[in-house]
């Protein structure tokens, strides 16, 4: 009688060959671990996951179709709304691909400023990940510390772009406005401020035995799996492959800057965690150098009044905070794009979740999901 009741309570499941009964557990669409409206259908055997099937699409906005009914430049604000946490890098990809196609020259100062703002944006994105990941793991306080630091970045970026999240700062051929000395001093101060903070995070979180026990050896994603699924960014760099678009397919002024690509070969959640923590340090270095090298000059190049892209298809990838973000545009020579394809890192990174989470326990699978650093609009677009 009791057994029957328990069985009916957990829902009709499948009896496994060894007599265990499975049940389906829905993670989401509204669930504290999914940071947005993502649903993951888990088929569980007790606390073990037999199959995890992500069901995205709850906030699908048809960003790609939107590109097909507005002009090249009107699509600019959209690009910062795909992954709202690293809006700068996404806009960067879009302006780069259009500039590449239309042959627009960008003044060096603008490229440097793009790099500075992109890297600041990357740090702020990683800080959100850091806080949210710790939240997944049940640590609340680091989130608030991370947001405190992030506020400083947002203040800086707001002072130049006028916006805190969806910047829309880049334009074809440059930037919409130049930065002032205040911003540069502020950015320098931020770099000086952030370094001890990162050391503090190392002591408070990275070295913490509970965190290490939770992440080390958990959620194995190796290089082969990354390759088969197209997973990029910190996921592949945590699998020992130095894949970073900034180095592999250099763009902008990144080749002129000295920075390391953090690579860890443990393939586990800890490796991905450490990659991102190290990346923040590297981004600080990039910001520092770019400010030191920042040339004088205009921030806007010569751009035709109405941007037209010669017919053909063009592709450009950038390294966004979550990995390789690429835009493929197809033009028929008109003022309006014929097709815009957004290749987003979260989409590819999540696609391996089903395979990587097989046989894991529920809390570990959530650590794995957190370590992928998903942004749901980035999956759904």
């Amino acid at each position: 009688m009791l057994l029957e009741k328990l069985q009916s309570a957990v829902g009709a499941g499948v009896i496994l060959p060894d007599g265990h009964e499975t049940f389906v557990l829905n993670l989401g669409p509204q669930h504290p671990a999914t940071h947005g409206v993502l649903r993951v259908k888990l088929t569980m055997d007790g606390e073990y996951i037999l199959r995890a099937e992500p069901v995205p699409g709850y906030i699908h906005r048809m960003q790609e179709k939107m590109g097909e009914n507005r002009s090249w430049s009107k699509y600019l604000p959209n690009t910062s709304r795909i992954d709202y946490l690293s809006a700068m890098t996404y806009t960067h990809a879009y302006v780069l691909v259009v500039e590449r196609a239309a042959g627009i020259e960008v003044p060096p100062r603008a490229e440097y400023l793009r790099v500075i703002t992109s890297e600041l944006n990357r740090i702020s994105s990683h800080l959100v990940w850091f806080g949210a990941f710790l939240l997944d793991l049940g640590g609340f306080t680091p989130l608030l510390y991370a947001f405190d630091d992030r506020e400083k970045i947002l203040d800086l970026l707001e002072s130049v772009t006028g916006s805190r999240l969806t910047y829309c700062y880049y334009r074809f051929g440059g930037l919409c406005n130049d930065v002032d000395a205040e911003f540069l001093t502020g950015a320098r101060e931020f770099v000086a401020y952030m370094r001890p903070r990162l050391a503090m995070y190392r002591q408070l979180v990275t070295d913490n035995i509970i965190l290490r026990k939770r992440l080390e050896g958990i959620g194995r994603i190796d290089a082969e799996l990354c390759r088969k699924y197209g997973a990029t960014g910190p996921v592949i760099r945590g699998a020992g492959v130095a894949n970073d678009v900034r180095r592999v397919e250099p763009y902008s002024v990144y080749p002129l800057l000295d920075f390391k690509i953090p690579v860890y070969s443990e393939c586990d959640c800890m490796a991905r965690y450490l990659v991102r923590m190290d990346e923040m340090e590297q981004s600080l270095r990039i910001v520092e150098q770019a400010i030191a090298q920042l040339p004088e000059g205009p921030v806007m190049g010569k751009v035709p009044r109405v941007v037209k892209v010669p017919a053909g298809d063009y592709y450009h990838a950038v390294e966004a905070a979550r990995g390789r973000f690429a835009i493929r545009i197809v033009s028929d020579g008109k003022e309006i794009p014929y097709r815009i394809k957004l290749r987003t890192p979260s989409f590819s990174n999540l696609s391996l979740f089903e395979e990587a989470s097989r046989g894991m326990m529920l809390p570990d699978a959530l650590a794995l999901m957190g370590s992928l650093d998903l942004v749901i609009p980035d999956i759904d677009r």
Partner: protein
């Protein structure tokens, strides 16, 4: 003036209930303020000075909510579980000596009684999870049982060590045994067992686990199980579970203060009284809050590993060591 025994008991019962009620409510405030301070924000500020009336506002809100029972839940068990989780905590406090003469009942088997009632708490949470007919709640209930089974063992081993040192299970006598300065407190009683501070740490960890506090809050690991066993509870049903959690912390910390920190004894051996006991109690409570807002949650099997592979062997070791020490000296 002395009251007849039944009235005296009633008065104490009322006193204990009031103490638990006020404390449970205000520990929520302490927790929220504490969390806010650790996170460098002000915390509740709007209701009353420094948000002091926040617990009342919360209670009013919870009371005004409809008590929903999920359609397929076991109605009786679902309703009974919050009561069952609250009552044992009250019973436990009946044996706690607050001062030299302040305590509801000085029982010879006080310590045993505390643990006997303390274990019911787990059953009640399990019942609540079970009765709500929710997958998250059932997983949570299963977790909470195995967690508590795992942590009662080292806890008991530690307490047996203590009983061997003090030679009694009467809480009042245990406190009296530690009179005469803080070096006489059990936590520093190195003569009985050089590993006494370690024993205290084990006790504290077990206490956190027994009361389902972070970093061992597997039962309501909100990123995995939403609100665990309490997912389906609304209004005051949830409120009672919430209060019971704090009541249990109160019991756990009182026990810690009594067993290891000399209860109402003053550290300098001059004055002693309720004030010292409360000070020690709240210091421990603060540490509990502090720990929660510092660490991430352990994973479930990590928690069991910690218990079975580290805490039980070590506490068994201290027990054996104490035996030897007591036999020799």
């Amino acid at each position: 003036m002395t009251l007849p025994e039944p009235f005296r008991l009633l008065a104490y019962l009322a006193g204990v209930m009031a103490f638990v009620g006020v404390n449970a409510a205000y520990l929520v405030w302490v927790e929220r303020k504490g969390a806010a301070r650790f996170q460098r924000r002000p915390g509740p500020t709007e209701v009353g000075p420094a948000g002091l009336l926040q617990p009342l506002a919360d209670a009013a809100k919870l009371l005004s909510k409809q008590l929903l029972v999920p359609p397929d839940a076991d109605r009786t068990l679902f309703r009974v579980a919050p009561v069952l989780v609250m009552a044992p905590a009250l019973m436990c406090l009946a044996t706690i000596p607050f001062g030299k003469t302040l305590g509801a009942r000085s029982l010879d088997l006080g310590l045993v009684m505390v643990f006997a009632f303390g274990s019911i708490n787990v059953m009640a949470i399990m019942l609540g999870g079970w009765a709500s007919r929710n997958k998250y709640a059932i997983i949570s209930a299963a977790r909470i049982v195995s967690q508590n089974v795992a942590y009662e063992i080292p806890m008991m081993l530690v307490v047996i060590t203590l009983i061997m040192v003090t030679g009694t299970t009467n809480l009042q006598e245990i406190v009296e045994d530690q009179a005469g300065g803080f070096w006489k407190w059990n936590v520093f009683n190195l003569a009985a067992n050089p590993l006494m501070p370690v024993t205290f740490v084990i006790f504290f960890i077990c206490m956190l686990a027994e009361t389902n506090r972070a970093p061992f809050d597997m039962a309501e690991a909100e990123s995995e199980l939403v609100a665990g066993a309490f997912t389906e509870y609304a209004g005051m049903g949830f409120g009672v579970f919430f209060m019971a959690e704090y009541a249990n912390i109160l019991v756990g910390c009182s026990l810690g203060a009594i067993l290891f920190l000399g209860g109402w004894q003053s550290p300098f051996g001059i004055l002693s009284g309720v004030g010292w006991f409360l000070l020690k109690l709240y210091a421990l409570v603060f540490t509990v809050v502090w720990v929660r807002w510092t660490f991430p949650r352990t994973q479930f099997y990590g928690l069991l590993n910690l218990s079975w592979k580290i805490l039980i062997p070590v506490s068994l070791g201290t027990l054996v060591l104490t035996c030897i020490m007591l036999k020799i000296f």
